[in-house]
């Protein structure tokens, strides 16, 4: 039985550092190559030594696929390709390819320039790495080699996020990356056709959550921001540089315009301007509304949102600031947070998921005193709000995707173990399929049942048609005679042709049967009597009296001979080939015997 093996190097029962190895049909594929936000040491990157202890990865991997540009999905890419060594193709969608290097560069800057780490990848490495990238289009089937093919589907989540169908022969795996089943202000909902993969590898960040409708969330968010602004407070919204940030920008921008608000909205760092540029370009990847209206006005050309400068943080009066990174673990958002944390008029809105160990996670859990680097503590007086704006599918969304794709097996990654456990139970109960949730380094093996295509020779098929009967119904199996030949490819031919091809002689198998009986008539007479009797008995069969002293019923041969010593002792010889239906034989013999026995001598 062929098998598909899946081993998560990261993101197994964990969020962050997504990296999953898949072996399918003899091909090895790496899905995502991310970093972990919560660590600053070696645990930050996946353990590539699992693949090979020494030497380059190129020999062991057929391709690498990056689902989207978030760092926990692509952060380790330059490290892997340039420092560990990989020269094979890296697949990602066009927007991901465009935006990914910006984020990697930003990440590099923070780590190297700010924290002063050494032995980290350089800008040149990022560039070299990006040269290995092969872009994907949605719904385009890309042939990696003769057998391995990829197809990308829209995943929502962020601009350019894709789900990938990996197919070798009839075996297939779908990797969802991160996806979102509810459309939002700038992205559509994930969609996949009924591809019925052998394994569906799905993220499960919100495995135990069913979220409120998005309109309620939006209204709540706007209300909170509005009230804080009216109080004269400052609002900090830590965001991942890209993705949620654009979503919230569009939301606030339209709200500001509608309510005619004057308080400034800032967006930190120049990186976003670059990114926004790409957002304006990749309009086809956004939702229906933006796609339809961009001719009149590109929604990503913000009127109210300006670039942030560090000095603005001390300005008096209300303001809204979007700052990176999203989990308050480093960078500008943390700086601003430190500045504003002391005033209870201010507010921080955490719009997404926070990994354990980050400050974001701590304050969300109600911690009001934080230990900072250098043993200082920070009193958190500002309000902390949590608005689930993460563009991940909730439990219902995951179930919806399973219903759309109809996989044979299910594999959960990118989530917390306890929550996965729950969802696993639900999936097994609802869909009656196996569901796995491997930990990092644990291998899951799924055996598949691939169908083998067989060429059938046209002659054989025509002959089968000529035999009549109802027209072939593809839903019902039908038996036919033929010979299966396995050479380069498997084919089904008629037995004659097979013999010819193999250069063998045809052998005929015949069964014979002797019946001894007493009959005073001459041989010829007996035979004739048998002939006339059978003729009257078996209507609808061809019965021939052949001059050479045999009677043929279809292909059954009947001969009569008498033994030399006693002419009355007749031997009846029946001979038939193996194809003859047994029922004819069983009718002929007893009928004949009965007749001969009972007939007057």
């Amino acid at each position: 039985m062929p098998e598909i093996k899946v081993t998560p190097l990261g993101a197994g029962q964990d969020v962050g550092r997504s990296c999953i190895l898949v072996s399918i049909g003899g091909k090895n594929i790496m899905l995502d190559c991310g970093m972990h936000m919560g660590y600053n040491d070696d645990r930050r990157f996946p353990d590539f030594s699992y693949i090979t202890q020494n030497g380059r990865l190129t020999d062991f991997l057929d391709c690498v696929i990056i689902s989207h540009f978030h760092l926990d999905h692509c952060g380790a890419l330059p490290y892997m390709s340039e420092m560990v060594g990989y020269d094979g193709p890296i697949y990602m969608t066009h927007p991901t390819k465009a935006i990914c290097p910006i984020l990697l560069e930003d990440f590099r800057k923070i780590t190297v320039d700010k924290k002063g780490e050494t032995n980290f990848f350089t800008s040149q490495m990022i560039k070299d790495c990006m040269k290995k990238v092969v872009p994907l289009n949605l719904h385009q089937t890309v042939q990696v080699d003769d057998e391995l093919e990829l197809k990308a589907y829209y995943a929502g989540h962020v601009l350019g996020a894709a789900m990938v169908l990996i197919k070798v022969g009839s075996e297939s795996v779908v990797y969802t990356g991160d996806y979102n089943m509810t459309p939002d202000r700038h992205l559509g909902a994930a969609w996949i056709d009924k591809c019925r993969p052998d394994i569906l590898i799905s993220e499960s960040t919100y495995a135990t959550t069913i979220r409120d409708s998005k309109r309620c969330r939006e209204r709540d968010f706007l209300k909170k921001v509005h009230e804080s602004i009216e109080r004269g407070g400052k609002v900090l919204i830590p965001v991942f540089a890209l993705g949620r940030a654009q979503e919230l920008c569009i939301l606030l921008e339209t709200f500001w315009e509608r309510m005619n608000l004057k308080a400034p909205i800032y967006f930190s760092t120049g990186l976003t301007e670059k990114a926004n540029h790409y957002y304006k370009l990749f309009i086809t990847w956004t939702n229906q509304k933006i796609r339809k209206t961009f001719v009149q006005r590109n929604m990503f050309e913000f009127k109210h949102i300006k670039a942030f400068d560090r000095s603005y943080a001390d300005n008096p009066g209300p303001m809204v600031v979007f700052a990176t990174p999203g989990m308050l673990h480093a960078g500008q958002s943390l700086q601003i947070f430190k500045k504003w944390a002391g005033n209870e008029k201010n507010m921080v809105i955490m719009p997404g998921y926070c990994v354990q160990g980050t400050i974001g996670h701590k304050i969300l859990n109600g911690q009001r005193k934080l230990e900072m680097e250098g043993r200082s503590t920070l009193d958190v007086k500002l309000q902390v709000e949590y608005m689930s704006f993460s563009a991940h599918a909730d439990a219902k969304g995951i179930m919806q995707l399973i219903r759309m794709a109809e996989p044979r097996n299910m594999l959960l990654v990118h989530g917390e173990a306890l929550k996965m456990e729950f969802l696993k139970g639900k999936i097994e109960q609802e869909f009656n399929i196996d569901c796995y949730m491997p930990a990092n380094g644990e291998t899951i093996t799924v055996s598949t049942n691939p169908s083998v295509p067989v060429d059938i020779s046209l002659n054989l098929l025509k002959r089968e048609m000529a035999l009549g009967g109802p027209l072939p119904d593809p839903k019902k199996p039908r038996t036919m005679h033929g010979t299966l030949i396995m050479k380069e490819n498997v084919s089904l031919v008629s037995s004659e042709q097979a013999l010819k091809e193999l250069g063998l002689n045809e052998h005929q198998l015949r069964f014979t049967c002797r019946v001894q009986l007493q009959d005073p008539h001459s041989d010829l007479d007996t035979l004739h009597r048998i002939y006339t009797h059978l003729k009257s008995l078996l209507k609808g069969y061809t019965i021939q009296h052949v001059p050479d002293g045999t009677v043929m019923v279809e292909s059954i041969v009947i001969k009569v001979s008498s033994s030399a010593e006693d002419p009355n002792n007749k031997v009846l010889l029946l001979s038939w080939s193996y194809q003859v239906e047994y029922s004819i034989i069983t009718t002929i013999i007893p009928a004949m015997l009965n007749y001969l026995m009972s007939s007057p001598t």
Binding site: P183, C216, R403, M404
Partner: protein, 949 residues
């Protein structure tokens, strides 16, 4: 032959036969049980004649047959069948075969051959039909055997050429049932779709679809292909309409539910389908499943929230709770959405079975088409169920923040439609009012319209609404009329809520005099409109007014009488006697007015008996009365106007006929002749107005109008004959008139009996003579009939409305001419409301009249018409003006025209032609086309300047 046979069959069925009681039935039963077939065999053999045999069979049919003996019984029946000569017995046997093959657990494949064989020798058509029916049953028992299906179809095709309808009918059923539903499982999705569509088409053409298909259709809902799923949704829907109350089992449980509920659940599921076409279809379909149980309906809005396995309340629930506890949501409270109770793992159902949350999904869909469909469906369902309306309110209010304008607009409209069922809470109103700042005029106006119909619960709501409306007025001054109107309704709807706000609104102070507000301030007028309308049903309110308020009231009552109601103010005498009539309770005054109208009409109908001058007098008075009545009672304006116009026509006719000129030689009375001709012309015009300007006419009234028109035509003919312009034209005129008469007869065949004793009645009597005689003679006959014929009585339908149009913009008040370069165009914005106009897209035109007499008729685009309410349209369009250079500014007139053409738009012709006439429109009728001006002209000051070189 067939009829004869049938008769015989019935005779025999209805023959009463004394059945000899079989002795010891219990004992015999036990004996015969193992070999029922044998018993039957004996019985049948015993039967001496066909009647007896039939009787036995009938008896036999009443008892159930065990599975194991079915085949034996069938064999015996068949054996007997071949022997039997009597048709009725064979018929019964055939039907028994069908009955038997339905036995549970019995697979009838063994008797197919026999059943088919019986067909070949059968001569009687009824028996044939019955046999085919049996085959139909057998076929439906064996769904998965293609060979048998093929044979059945073959048999059916062979008998399609039968002469008896019953046989052909059964054959076709056999073919359609076995063919089409078998292809539901075809390998190719296109074939599956086509099969479903064919079935739907059969349904549309009145063929009964069987419930058996339901299961198949449900299976197709999860097909791989969207067209199939889409068609399957329709199929399931159709079945749910056909068999709403039948019971279907829920798989994997023992429970059973109504089919319509089951279908509703399944279609709800499709709202989260992968293809948006299917989603749209599903969402639309849900709206028309009104028979679904309320329990299921509520589930569509339910989406159980949870967070880390703990139940969470939705924001809607939270808002409601805050409201009921009297505290407005601060949004400040930390973790007020913190999950409360712990959920049991096993009860959390992630794939919502059935209808759960269908609309929550639909309203959040990416495609606005789906969202609109969902909103519409919500509307339809909410209209039929007040409790559901209450529940879906939150969701609709949420939709006001949709990103697509169409969706927002649609949800506002929907909310208006269901607003009779609901009362808005303050937080909901808040969200609603936020939309007033929308930059789109359509949205704002739709919202004003909504606020007119809205009930609110507290005085804070009123204050909030007023505040937002004033803000709106400030921001968009063009909304003035709409805002005022909105406040008028808001005031009259909530007098008690306005009362405590009055001092604040009018900024009065107990001790100090406050400055008198500016009377021209639209905001102040808005406040006054609100207060005065509330004061109408709140007599204590005027006591709170200050002096200037009373003065302003008097001013506004005059200048904006449609917005300010009459009030009984203390210390003031009633200025108009009118007011007291109006302020009397509405319905009673309408009734009395109605009575008055009827009486006037009745009085007129006695006119036959009066001498001419008195008759004329009476008509004059009645017309005056009716006109006045129309002014006083707006509800009856249409009817009163209609009657008045009709009577005026009669009056004109009467005058024209009463002239003494008829006895005088023609050349002596040219002048009178001219007035009579003018009268005839005017009557003709009035009849067109009568016919096309009023909606709600029934064919009786249309016939009356046509009748008057015919009289006018007759008058014209007579006058024409008197002017003596040669014989040839006269002949053609006579022919034309006769054609008119004929077409009248054809159109109003059903109304002719009601026109007794009228002109037409007599003409019809004389028609043979008229057609044969010479024109001159014909004219003479007509003249005498016309003069002798009396007044036609007018009966009134329930509701008559006159089409009216008011041009709101341009107002015609501007003194600044629109300047533009001659030869180029200037766009003039036109904003008008139309009431009671049917199909305005085709009938309403804009006419521009230049001072030099030149006139243009402009057809507005269909998209320029909006429909803010029932019987109401709004025309917002631009017309382009252009002219050569003028020396000084001058005025052009703009007015609206109602175009008509009797061939296409007259309801009469539609009525007349519907019953089978082959649509040959008489030429005289086809050519009548014209326009009726139906709005007051508005003058616009323009100035085309010569182009500068």
């Amino acid at each position: 032959m067939a009829a004869h046979l049938k008769k015989r069959v019935y005779e025999e069925f209805s023959k009463v036969v004394q059945i000899p009681h079989e002795e010891a039935p219990s004992k015999k039963l036990r004996l015969s049980k193992p070999s029922k077939s044998a018993a039957l065999h004996v019985d049948l053999c015993k039967a001496s004649n066909s009647t007896d045999a039939l009787q036995y069979l009938l008896q036999f049919a009443r008892k159930p047959v065990e599975v194991e003996s079915v085949e034996g019984v069938v064999r015996i029946l068949l054996e007997h069948y071949y022997k039997e000569t009597d048709n009725s017995v064979r018929l019964k046997i055939a039907s028994l075969l069908g009955l038997l093959s339905k036995t549970q657990g019995f697979t009838p494949d063994c008797i197919v051959d026999d059943a088919i064989n019986t067909l070949s020798n059968e001569k009687s058509h009824q028996v044939l039909a019955q046999l085919l029916d049996t085959l139909l049953v057998i076929g439906s028992q064996l769904p998965d055997t293609p060979t048998i299906r093929l044979r059945l179809i073959h048999v059916a095709c062979k008998h399609l050429s039968d002469t008896y309808f019953g046989v052909r009918n059964k054959c076709l059923q056999l073919i359609y049932r076995s063919i089409i539903s078998d292809y539901f499982g075809d390998q190719d999705p296109r074939v599956r779709t086509a099969a479903l569509k064919a079935m739907l088409q059969l349904h549309e053409r009145g063929m009964k679809i069987h419930q058996v298909i339901y299961e198949q259709a449900c299976r197709l809902l999860s097909d791989d292909y969207e067209q199939v799923r889409s068609a399957a949704v329709q199929m399931v829907w159709v079945l749910s309409l056909l068999y709403p109350e039948s019971i279907v089992p829920i798989p994997s449980s023992n429970e059973e539910i109504r089919l319509v509920d089951d279908a509703f659940g399944k279609i709800s599921h499709m709202v989260s389908d992968g293809s948006w076409m299917v989603r749209v279809q599903a969402a639309k379909t849900l709206g028309s499943m009104l028979q679904v149980s309320p329990h299921f309906l509520v589930q569509t809005l339910d989406k159980k929230l949870m967070s880390d396995l703990r139940r969470k309340r939705t924001a809607h629930e939270r808002a409601k709770e805050l409201f009921t506890s009297g505290e407005f949501s601060s949004g400040r409270k930390w973790a007020d959405d913190a999950p409360k109770e712990k959920l049991d793992r096993n009860t959390v159902n992630l794939i919502a079975s059935g209808a759960c949350g269908a609309f929550v999904h639909g309203l959040e869909d990416e495609m606005f088409e789906v969202r609109i469909a969902a909103v519409e469906a919500l509307c339809q369902l909410a209209r039929s169920s007040p409790s559901f309306a209450e529940k879906c309110l939150d969701f609709l209010v949420d939709m006001f923040n949709d990103e697509i304008e169409e969706v927002r607009l649609q949800s506002i409209h929907v909310l208006r439609e269901i607003s009779t069922h609901i009362t808005l809470r303050e937080d909901q109103l808040d969200t609603v009012l936020a939309v007033l700042e929308d930059s789109s005029r359509d949205i704002r106006e739709a919202l004003h319209e909504l606020l007119c119909y809205t009930n609110v619960s507290t005085k804070e709501c009123i204050q909030l609404a007023l505040l937002e409306l004033l803000k709106n007025l400030n921001k968009y001054p063009t909304d003035r009329n709409s805002v005022w109107k909105c406040l008028k309704f808001l005031g009259s709807r909530h007098p008690t809520l306005v009362l405590p706000l009055v001092p604040e609104l009018l900024s009065t102070h107990p001790y100090f005099d406050t400055p008198e507000p500016d009377m021209d301030d639209p905001a102040y007028i808005a406040v006054l409109v609100l207060v005065f309308n509330a004061a109408k049903s709140c007599p204590t309110m005027p006591a709170l007014f200050s002096d200037h308020t009373f003065r302003h009231y008097a001013y506004l009552r005059d200048s904006l009488s449609h917005l300010v109601p009459p009030l009984r103010l203390p210390g003031r005498k009633q200025v108009f006697g009118l007011d007291s009539v109006d302020s009397g309770s509405g319905s009673a005054s309408v009734e009395s007015a109605q009575l008055f109208l009827q009486q006037s009409l009745h009085r007129v109908s006695t006119i036959q008996n009066l001498e001419a001058p008195e008759a004329r007098e009476l008509l004059n008075f009645t017309i005056r009365d009716l006109q006045r009545l129309g002014e006083l009672q707006t509800e009856l304006a249409g009817a009163a106007d209609f009657c008045a116009t009709f009577l005026r026509c009669q009056l004109l006719l009467m005058k024209a006929l009463q002239e003494k000129l008829w006895n005088v030689a023609v050349p002596l009375c040219l002048k009178q002749n001219v007035t009579a001709t003018a009268a005839a012309q005017q009557i003709l015009e009035e009849t067109y107005k009568l016919e096309f300007l009023y909606s709600g006419l029934e064919s009786r009234q249309v016939a009356t109008i046509h009748h008057v028109r015919l009289q006018a035509k007759a008058l014209q003919l007579i006058l024409y004959a008197r002017s003596r312009q040669g014989l040839d034209p006269l002949i053609s005129c006579c022919e034309k008139f006769l054609q008119d008469v004929e077409s009248f007869q054809r159109l109003f065949l059903s109304e002719l009996p009601h026109l007794q004793d009228s002109f037409m009645d007599r003409v019809c009597e004389l028609l043979p003579r008229l057609t044969s005689c010479k024109p001159v003679e014909m004219v003479k006959i007509l003249q005498s009939t016309l003069r002798q014929s009396g007044l036609l009585q007018l009966s009134l339908p329930e509701q008559i409305h006159r089409a009216t149009a008011t041009i709101i913009e341009p107002t015609g008040e501007s003194d600044n001419p629109l300047r533009f370069t001659s030869g180029l165009v200037v766009a003039l914005d036109i904003d008008a409301t139309l009431e009671h106009v049917n199909d305005p897209q085709n009938t309403v035109k804009v006419q521009v009249l230049y001072p030099d007499g030149q006139s243009h008729v402009i057809h507005p685009k269909p998209g320029d018409f909006r429909k803010p309410g029932p019987h109401r349209h709004r025309l917002i369009t631009q017309v382009y003006l252009s002219h050569t250079a003028w020396t000084e500014p001058s005025q052009v007139e703009v007015r609206l025209l109602l175009a008509y053409s009797s061939s296409s738009s007259s309801s009469s012709s539609r009525l007349g032609w519907s019953d089978g006439a082959d649509g040959v429109i008489p030429p005289s009728e086809a050519t009548v086309e014209g326009t009726i001006p139906f709005s007051k002209p508005v003058k616009v000051y323009i100035m085309p300047k010569p182009a500068r070189r």
